[in-house]
């Protein structure tokens, strides 16, 4: 699992990256009441808005940690947005991307680096 400074994570399996937000981000957001996942086939460049999570108070963008095409979106979140709080780094994933440039992964943090980053906040 790799993390961004905006608290997204990706899990890489071959050329497919599953994207979600970290437990820290989910805790900071508070109760998630709505999730907008991307349409299939959408081509995202690193940093593009991939999903929107809404808490009671506010909407927050989730950015694509790497570039790629959306090949699957987590449709379960429409009926159960609270999954993002309950299991942010598992069942609360948003989408799967077909990775366009594997080289971008090297720019992300591993768990230890992310933990150190959180400690510095």
């Amino acid at each position: 699992m790799f993390f961004t400074k905006d608290h997204e994570w990706i899990k890489v399996d071959g050329d497919v990256a599953t994207v979600g937000i970290s437990a820290y981000a989910a805790e900071q957001l508070g109760d998630v009441v709505f999730v907008e996942v991307p349409d299939l086939g959408k081509v995202l460049t690193v940093g593009d808005s991939l999903a929107v999570v809404e808490s009671v108070k506010a909407a927050s963008d989730v950015y694509a940690p790497v570039s790629g095409e959306v090949i699957e979106a987590n449709g379960d979140l429409a009926a159960a947005p609270e999954t993002v709080n309950a299991d942010p780094e598992g069942a609360g994933w948003f989408a799967k991307l077909k990775i366009a440039d594997p080289g971008q992964i090297a720019g992300l943090m591993d768990r230890a680096a992310y933990d150190a980053f959180l400690a510095s906040l």
């Binding site: 508070g30 109760d31 009441v33 907008e36 809404e54 808490s55 009671v56 108070k57 909407a59």
Partner: protein
């Protein structure tokens, strides 16, 4: 990362001890939520009793030779007719009939008026009142007083355990009495749509009373996040969003705050505009919207009619924990304000169906005695 320019209420340490997430709000560091989170806090207030620190709000005493009559010069309310023991919701109006602030004004005793105004407006409000009513009134700010709100169906039972006399108080009634070893003002009022009380008391004893009320298992601390979702469900406007200096009481759907006697007399600020609007020359009015599908529509989202034409904007909106759907308030032309009117809201470029619904979104449960 505390901003030294931010003020703290007497309960700041108590909030931290309860695990509050503090945010800047109207110049204060205030708790947006505690460990329970906004949804749980919201539901707890609807089911049990929630305790809110609203000490950032502006409290003051207005005194003078004829303070009630004087206060009518800056509001459209009937204050000459306000009897001791009564509390009234009113509006501070500018000369064009725009809303400078909304406020509570009451007579907990025979000593002039007791005012509570919005935190973000308080400096301007008191300056405005002092200028407009120069020579007629004296304003004494109660900066050394905290304000607690205890809201929810269990609020009366909890508070009666400490102040038995509150059982006689009805909604929008206020009284000054001795409790917690000191002089306090208790009003049966609030900003949640639930039965509840607001208690004004000296800062020195606020932490002790806060802890005492929280020691009751029916009471939990509630942050500003749930305060906002509760007031939204209750259909209550938030100043600076659903009302501002360009919006009149009629546009804001607050016609009830323009008293009959004052309308007949035509003697309040901005009367000519408000009279025109009352006579039907109205370009926009605040409505409640239920978002039938899609994401919550937040402040600033455009409202469109069936043809897709933009007819207004959302002024506050979010997710309703009670209704499990997105709700919003916004301004539309009167012709589109009837309950049932199909409209749409534009969220992130997508048009989502919405419908005009009656407010409150969730029924009020006030306890009236008279």
């Amino acid at each position: 990362m505390t901003d030294p320019s931010l003020r703290r209420t007497a309960l700041y340490d108590a909030h931290l001890a309860l695990g509050a997430r503090m945010v800047p709000f109207a110049g204060y560091e205030m708790p947006v939520q505690y460990r329970d989170g906004v949804l749980t806090e919201h539901r707890w207030t609807r089911d049990q009793a929630g305790l809110f620190d609203v000490s950032h709000m502006g409290q003051a005493r207005l005194r003078g030779v004829a303070p009630l009559a004087a206060f009518e010069e800056v509001t459209p309310g009937d204050f000459i007719g306000l009897k001791p023991g009564k509390l009234r919701y009113s509006l501070l109006l500018n000369h064009k009939g725009g809303i400078i602030d909304d406020l509570m004004a009451g007579r907990p005793d025979e000593d002039g008026l007791y005012l509570v105004v919005n935190a973000g407006c308080k400096e301007g409000d008191f300056k405005w009142i002092a200028n407009e009513l120069a020579g007629q009134v004296k304003i004494e700010r109660l900066e050394d007083h905290a304000l607690l709100a205890l809201q929810g169906p269990m609020a009366a039972a909890v508070l009666a355990g400490h102040i038995p006399a509150i059982a006689d108080l009805g909604f929008m009634e206020t009284t000054r009495l001795n409790a917690f070893g000191t002089d306090v003002i208790v009003s049966r009022s609030g900003y949640t749509g639930e039965d509840g009380f607001e208690i004004s008391l000296p800062n020195e004893i606020a932490p002790e009373v806060w802890a005492l009320l929280l020691s009751d298992e029916r009471v939990r601390p509630i942050g500003l996040g749930a305060r906002d979702s509760l007031r939204l469900e209750a259909g209550l406007p938030l100043y600076g969003h659903d009302a501002d200096e360009t919006i009149s009481p009629i546009e804001a759907g607050l016609t009830f705050a323009v008293s009959k006697r004052r309308r007949d007399a035509g003697d309040f600020p901005g009367y000519s505009r408000i009279k025109r609007e009352l006579d039907g020359d109205l370009s926009r009015i605040r409505v409640g919207l239920r978002v039938l599908e899609g994401a919550p529509a937040r402040e600033g989202a455009e409202i469109t009619d069936a043809s897709g034409a933009v007819v207004g904007k959302v002024t506050s909106g979010g997710f309703s924990p009670t209704l499990s759907t997105a709700i919003a308030m916004g301004f539309v032309p009167p012709a589109l304000s009837l309950v049932g009117t199909p409209l749409s809201v534009i969220v992130r470029g997508k048009s989502q169906p919405a419908q005009v619904v009656a407010m409150p979104f969730v029924p009020h449960r006030y306890v009236r005695k008279s």
